[in-house]
């Protein structure tokens, strides 16, 4: 009988020494194999992650979150993982939500399940951040025609088969929309699950600024034109 420990969790991390230890420990105590992709950090992220029990992959250069996710997913596939979860390193996700995603994935035989803070809870979110994310949801819905409530949540769970079918090229933050595009193009069976996102001063400081979203939009547009 399979259980939730069959889920491998990919955590892309760039200079996250403050939070990575706790994130990895919590995931490990739930029995997950944790794959931290150190995206060229200059601090002790890799060391702390390894001490906390993660398998650590290191990028020689900083590529961006999208690039780190691709590396982590590629590794999981090569190591024959069955379920692959993506999880942010800044401590904004709760480890116990992985189980909730997994139960939905298995019981509904979905290809991929996505966490939604707007179905669940977004603790400590500011009004401006809520507005920004809702705008992103609106535009993503227009483009990908997926009926989603939260398009930029780092917590996702997919089967290895679906992960193998994704072609991801966006190295930066535009990967979130790219994954949704792929769900739409490949016609994957998807579902959204309520999760809790904790906004701490730390996660806010590590998050994307509103201004950066314009850059992401440009990246995404060029990426779509070049397809």
């Amino acid at each position: 009988m399979q259980n939730v420990s069959a889920v491998w969790v990919v955590v892309p991390a760039y200079n996250e020494e403050q939070t990575i230890g706790r994130v990895v420990s919590e995931l490990r105590s739930d029995g997950h194999t944790v794959v931290v992709v150190d995206d060229g950090s200059r601090d002790k992220t890799a060391e702390i992650a390894r001490q906390s029990g993660a398998i650590v992959l290191r990028h020689a250069l900083n590529l961006g979150q999208g690039g780190a996710l691709q590396t982590g997913i590629a590794f999981c596939l090569k190591a024959n993982a069955r379920y692959i979860c993506t999880f942010d390193a800044d401590g904004q996700h709760r480890a116990e939500d992985v189980r909730i995603l997994w139960e939905r994935l298995v019981s509904g035989q979905y290809d991929i399940v996505l966490g939604s803070r707007f179905l669940g809870q977004a603790q400590g979110i500011s009004q401006s951040r809520r507005l920004l994310l809702k705008t992103a949801v609106f535009f993503t819905r227009l483009h990908s025609r997926l009926r989603l409530t939260d398009t930029h949540n780092g917590l996702r769970l997919m089967t290895a088969q679906s992960a193998a079918r994704l072609t991801l090229k966006q190295l930066g933050m535009a990967h979130a929309s790219e994954i949704l595009d792929q769900i739409s193009v490949l016609n994957l069976k998807y579902s959204e699950v309520p999760v809790t996102v904790l906004y701490t001063d730390y996660s806010k400081s590590k998050g994307q600024s509103a201004l950066a979203s314009i850059g992401i939009l440009i990246e995404l547009t060029i990426g779509r034109m070049l397809k």
């Binding site: 398998i55 590529l63 070049l226």
Partner: protein
Amino acid sequence: MLIQIVLTLVFLSLLLKIVQMHSVGVSFKAVSIILLLAAIYVVLFPEIINRVARIAGVGRGADLMFYLCMAVGVYLLTLLYLRLKDTELRMARLVQHIAVERAIAELPAIHDGSERRDQ
């Protein structure tokens, strides 16, 4: 005129360089030589540009050159941008490949992924 002599010398030296180059393809060489010869011709007989401009419906030859330069400039910039993006992606794939291969090599044994790996 001085400018004609200077430009002709510049184009001629470029021509010589390209003819001597071994590392470039034949088609690149041919196109470059034709363009440089045309440039030298235009420098020596600038009236030709005015005539071409009138045929194209542009007032002066200098204006036509300006428009052409703009078009070529944008084209080259786009090409360069695409090349840069491609190089960036190739570099990323290399970095990713190294990271994955190293980690796979460090794994103690191949396992089926259904169980958690012991430390």
